[in-house]
Amino acid sequence: MPQLAKKPTRAVALGRLLERWLPQIVVSPLFAASLVFVYGFIAWTVYISFTRSGVLPNYTLAGLLQYERLWATPRWYVALRNLFVFTGLFVAGCMAIGILLAILLDQRIRIEGVIRNIYLYPMALSFIVTGTAWKWILNPTLGIEKFVQGLGFPDFSFDWLIDPNMAIYTVVIAGVWQSSGYVMALFLAGLRSVDDEIIRAAAIDGAGPVRTYASIVLPMIRPVFLSSIIVLSHIAIKSYDLVVALTGGGPGYATDLPATFMYAFAFQRSELGVAAASAVMMLVTVMAIIIPYLYSELRGARK
């Protein structure tokens, strides 16, 4: 009998112990998955980038060989140049249009909800879908070119999509069209958080609409500028599908970005080492932008 009585208590104790550690037990496999699939895989890729890997992975260390090869590849410089052009114009375009639309929508418009949804719907679509649409609109023979010629300008020519020097700007056009509504939404939310009294006081003091926004309201929502620019740069650096759908990286590799470069070297040309090295360069770029930002965000949240 005493033995029988003892067993349940041990089970209860075990149950209590389990219950006490349950949160940790639940979190740890998820955390472990993140350690393996994020940090482990990053370490793996970094390791590959320091090896001789070519068509097949080869785990003999080779120092900076792959990085030297990467930086000796002309195509990589094209990708980098495109990244700067694309990121700069994409961020600037989205910010300019997004802020303008947010301020205009902030003027007590009755059908604001409808208009906002129209500005934002492209964000719900895949870049492959919108890229397909823009490819057709920008089609050198049947698209905008033909339309403008039909308006009475027979010499009008618009062939950016197949012009190696201009094709990257078509990617900018489609990208800005797709993502500027996002900036509008972020800024509209920011503008709504500004106290009405401040705006009214400015109006009473005789500040015109432009001055009120430029020197009073917008400076108050400075954090929104920061997070919008960070998010947009992040989208730009990761951009892959838009380029694939719109230009396929072409003509030739004129519209390559690091993301398409990496994919081409990893899965089409089977240069695993160079591909890994380019992926590491991408990660370093993103980290340089994101880590200071995340650090300040998380520190701010803990206060």
Binding site: L30, W44, I128, A133
Partner: protein
């Protein structure tokens, strides 16, 4: 109390400014809607009309041939099956991936905030980092790993990938919500003898319904629209619909059928567009949470 708009003044100047405001807003509405209108109208034209007319004109004769072709006979690479089988691939991928990643994110966010243990914040910060990496950095190891476990080119493999890399975002959404829930409720339930899972399922999940909706919509849109993982980890008939669409458009044999391309693009975009029309506000909330402004 409503805000006095800046342009809200009296007189003729006010009226003119107001007109200008609406003109600019309307112009941008047209710019944003133009590609969608062009897609729909092109998909309803015959090839003959596309070749002779302008891309922006509305169809003179409406025909649904292109839609039928995009759905079941258009050539995706060498297989001429239309988009239909690939739509099903995407559905079979997106439903489990959204469900699993949302549920795990909810449990994770709850455990990290309502059962604060040592290191919980560090674990969260470390996991959050996964939401921001460029996925190119994991493509090669992931391809190897999927191959090793026999998951290469399968829908299950793709579900695993989307679940793992979606977890950072779903955890973020739920953590931000549960942080705002009073600890007192959980304490009271604990004193009443309720454990970890009963509190989660009976108390926390019902409170988190709006966050669940935001997360499900976010994950659905992200995973449905994904292209990179789809093209890297699937082959031929296991492709998700985004990859199949790209293959239809890129197929260079024969006459270029722009009407079929457009119909296929609309079909591939319809599910996320539908969700957006139904629940746009939740989508917007996901977008702003994605900017890590909790």
């Amino acid at each position: 109390m409503s805000r006095e708009g800046i342009v809200e003044r009296r007189g003729a100047g006010h009226f003119l400014l107001r007109m200008l405001l609406f003109a600019v807003l309307g112009l941008f509405c047209l710019l944003y809607l133009m590609p969608l209108v062009v897609m729909i109208s092109t998909s309803l034209k015959s090839l003959e009309e596309i070749r002779t007319g302008s891309f922006i004109s509305l169809p003179k004769e409406v025909t649904f041939d292109a839609w039928g072709k995009a759905w079941d006979t258009a050539c995706v690479g060498v297989r001429c099956t239309g988009l239909e089988p690939y739509m099903w691939n995407s559905v079979l991928m997106v439903v489990p991936a959204v469900f699993i990643s949302t549920l795990l994110g909810a449990i994770n966010g709850y455990a990290l905030t309502k059962w604060r243990f040592r290191g919980a914040n560090t674990i969260f910060a470390l996991m959050l980092f996964g939401a921001f990496i460029p996925f190119q950095i994991v493509l090669l190891p992931m391809a190897r790993t999927l191959g090793y476990f026999g998951l290469a080119g399968t829908t299950s493999g793709l579900i695993l990938v989307h679940t793992v890399y979606g977890l950072a975002f779903t955890t973020l959404f739920f953590r931000n919500f549960f942080v705002s829930v009073s600890d007192g409720i959980v304490q009271a339930a604990k004193i009443d003898g309720a454990g970890f899972f009963p509190i989660f399922f009976k108390l926390m999940l019902p409170m988190a319904v709006p966050t669940i909706v935001v997360t499900v919509i976010w994950q659905f849109t992200q995973i449905w629209n994904d292209f990179l993982f789809g093209i890297a980890f699937t082959v031929g008939d296991s492709n998700p619909v985004t990859v199949a669409l790209n293959n239809i458009v890129a197929t260079s044999t024969g006459v270029k059928e722009y009407n079929v391309d457009m119909a296929a693009a609309i079909i591939a975009g319809l599910p996320t567009l539908f969700v957006y029309v139904l629940a746009g506000n939740y989508f917007v909330r996901g977008l702003s949470a994605g900017a890590v402004k909790g």
